[in-house]
Structure formats: C-alpha cells, structure tokens
Symmetry: C2
Subunit: 144 residues, 2 copies
Amino acid sequence: MDDVPIPALLRAARRTYGSAIRAALAEVGCDDVPRNGPFVIGDVARGGTPLSGIIRELGVSKQAAGQLVDTLVLRGYLERSPDPDDRRRLTVTLTDRGRLAADASRRAVWTVDAELTARLGDECVTQARAVLLELIEIGDDRVG
Amino acid sequence: MDDVPIPALLRAARRTYGSAIRAALAEVGCDDVPRNGPFVIGDVARGGTPLSGIIRELGVSKQAAGQLVDTLVLRGYLERSPDPDDRRRLTVTLTDRGRLAADASRRAVWTVDAELTARLGDECVTQARAVLLELIEIGDDRVG
DNA sequence: AACATTAGTCAATCTCGTTGACTATCTACA
DNA sequence: TGTAGATAGTCAACGAGATTGACTAATGTT
C-alpha cells in the first residue's frame, strides 16, 4: 500500500468528507448545494467574508466565485450586503437556511474527524494536519 | 490554525501536487492533459487497466471515464486494445507519449514527496499516509 | 435456449470554471 | 485637486467535464 501516490490518497480522503457532508446536507433538506458550496458557506460562517476572500480560499477566478455566490444567494443560503467602509465590496453573510446548512456540514466534518480520532488517536491526527499544512506551504513556496 | 477544517486542508494540499504535476507535464510538452488525466495515466502506467478499473479509482461514472480515455487516446497518450479473454473489455495501455507524461508526472510527485520528507522527516510522512488511508477506509465503511 | 449481468458506447444535457471586456470605487502621488 | 493605477466585482460567451438515460454486445447462469 506504500505505492499509492499521495495525491490519489488526498483525493480519495477528501471524498470521504465530501459524501459525508453531502449526505448531512440532504438530511436537512439542503440537497441543492453546489459542489464548492460547503466551502463557501463554511467560510462565511467563520465571519462575514468579501468575495475576494472566497477567491483566495478556493483558488478560483473571481468570476467563478461570483457565480457560486450567485447561485447560493438564489437558493437562499447567502445574502449579499454592501460594505459601508468600501462601496466596491459586497460582504456575504449567511441566511437562516445558510446557518442550517453550515451547521449540518460542520457536524458532518466533525463526525468524520471524531471517527478518525477514535481510530488513530489525537496525536496522529494533529500530526497529519501539520503534514497537510506543510504540503500547502510547499505549494505556496513553489509559486511565490 | 487548528480551526481550518481538514477537507479544506486536503483540498489545498492536493493543489500543491496538482500544479507541480501540471508544470512538469508542460515542461515536456504535454500541456494538453485533461484534469484527471494524470490519475488515469498513472494508473495505467502501473499495469494495463480495463476501463472499469479507472472508474473505481476515480469514482466517476463509466461514461465520464470513457470520455476521459477518449480524449487521452485522441491526444496520443493512451491506446485501447481489445482484451482477448473478454471481448467486451477494452484494455487501455500507454503510448510512448503516455509513458513520457507518466514519467514526468511521477517525477513531479516524487519531488514534492521528497521536499515534504526533507522538511518533516520520513516517519511523519508515513504516518500521514496511514491517516489518509484510514480516512478512505472510513468513507468506505460509511457507504458499505 | 432464455435471462440476467457486465463492459462499454452514444447522445443530450447540466454544472462549472475560464477568459475577455467592462464599470465602479478607492488609493497614491504630482 | 485631480489624475493614474490598483482593487472589487459584474456581464457575456465559451469550453471542459460529468451526469443521466437509452442502447449494443459479450458473458454467465439457470
């Protein structure tokens, strides 16, 4: 099993979270969240975010981010509100439904995390987080 | 930094590999590999694969897999050859160009892996692999 | 021989994400 | 002050990729 490349592992591991989140959302009647929706919703849940924040987090073009927010607004998860400090900015916040979805999604992630910790222990998971962060760092270094 | 959800970390970490692979491919003139191409090519490189294997590996519909193989054949990376044992099956193999791409891609992954190991040490990385495998296992358990 | 299963294709559609061009606002410097 | 340039976001067109549904062909199963 040592020959499976790490990117493939990352991909498959992410699918575990992905389907857990999707299932949890469906359970609370939010079966119309687009693929990257949970990321955006989770992001926004951690504090009102300007679109540009979402762009950086997701690593997509601003148009794609805008579109994503569009559909999330349309489906009742998000609201755009103008930023009084900078009238170019549109800050994005959660609606009630958005909070519902954010909670469901967060719980799903937490459940998987808990299962993982139960199986391997706290330290192991913490260390894995560090490895992932380092991997991200490497990517940033290669670009910068 | 402990509040960043693991799925987001997985996503970002994977991007490190993704761009490294993409850059490496471009360097050897393979700048027309579709997004999931490296996975398929890598898979095939590890032994001729029937389409159904690719489907399982990627977790996509068989039509999507078929299409992906189509374009990879069209662009000169893969060849379809009938399986003598089962005439329904089309086994997929690499062309010379495919091998070139597979090598470049493998090297790119290896380079990132090496950098990671250099920064954190062998054990850490091995353990992270185990965590990822466990995560995949959890996903399988939830479905099965 | 009849039926179900498995492997894969074809065609239409849908969801995304991208690029290119544009407007509006803010910042900095002369 | 006012003008150049950077920043935030939108609009429109397009393209890549994945999905669903319906189909053919080969295999296996009774």
